[in-house]
């Protein structure tokens, strides 16, 4: 399991725009580096990060080789109702990691 961190407020007023920061540890190996015998190190990158809230995907990031290791993203969302925000990182080889954070909306 990679280490994922979400930084966001736990409470908000309804309609408030909150900022969310998300980071996960991942090598994001581009596939362009060569090892010490000149062979390409295989590509291993996360390709997708999503945030769902209230049953809808409210943010989606597609990651390519140009995203730095331990991918970080900060984005915002409108606090609509109390509930869980579900964050997921995945690649195209079966990796999937989900984190959940509850937001109280008053």
């Amino acid at each position: 399991m990679a280490t994922a961190r979400i930084v966001m407020p736990r409470t908000a007023r309804k309609g408030e725009v909150i900022e969310i920061k998300a980071r996960i540890t991942h090598v994001m190996e581009t596939g362009f580096r060569l090892d010490n015998v000149g062979q390409p190190i295989p590509r291993d990158i996360l390709t997708r990060f999503s945030c769902s809230y209230g049953g809808q995907t409210v943010f989606l990031m597609e990651l390519f080789t140009g995203v730095a290791a331990n991918p970080f993203v900060a984005f915002s969302t409108v606090a609509t109702e109390t509930g869980e925000l579900v964050f997921n990182w995945s690649d195209q080889k079966g990796f999937s990691q989900t984190e959940r954070v509850r937001l109280e909306v008053t």
Partner: protein, 162 residues
């Protein structure tokens, strides 16, 4: 070398699940990448056309906050803000980030919508050498806006051997 190119093609087919046309441009570029080939302003334009089609692209509405000089190309901060009310009727749908001289021109894409509240995203990218970063925003009304920023890179990312 042939086996390296085959591995490159297979992996690139997987990566181009979205945006098939952009992926095709990536496939064309990926042959011989290990040799040091990379995107160019022309191939970046092809990738942009693949992603956005014939829509005219206008400069403006986007502010980029990126260091003019990056000590380490493996880690370059990129903050993007697009002017938009982010209402259901008028919002940013997608933000595209391209690097004109990286081994592969696609860097990231952000899919927003009215629930974002604000069209502002911050991430950290890799730049292989001094180059322009081009950011495009596709709006809900179909219009496309663009902004570029040049980053001087002291030590390139992507290609360092171990």
């Amino acid at each position: 070398m042939t086996s390296s190119s085959k591995i490159g093609h297979q992996e690139w087919k997987r990566l181009s699940r979205r945006g098939v046309l952009t992926g095709t441009a990536g496939l064309l570029i990926s042959v011989g990448l290990i040799d040091g080939a990379h995107a160019t302003p022309e191939t970046m334009q092809e990738a942009i056309a693949g992603a956005l089609g014939e829509t005219p692209i206008r400069p403006g509405r986007i502010t980029l906050d990126v260091p003019p000089l990056a000590e380490n190309g493996n880690s370059v901060s990129l903050l993007i803000e697009v002017e938009s009310p982010m209402t259901a009727a008028d919002h940013v749908k997608t933000i595209y980030v391209f690097a004109e001289k990286n081994p592969l021109t696609d860097v990231a894409r952000f899919h927003l919508g009215p629930r974002a509240g604000r069209a502002r995203v911050h991430t950290v990218i890799r730049l292989s050498q001094t180059q322009f970063v081009k950011v495009l925003a596709e709006m809900s009304d179909g219009s496309c806006w663009a902004q570029t920023a040049e980053v001087i890179v002291t030590i390139g990312g992507c290609l360092d051997p171990l």
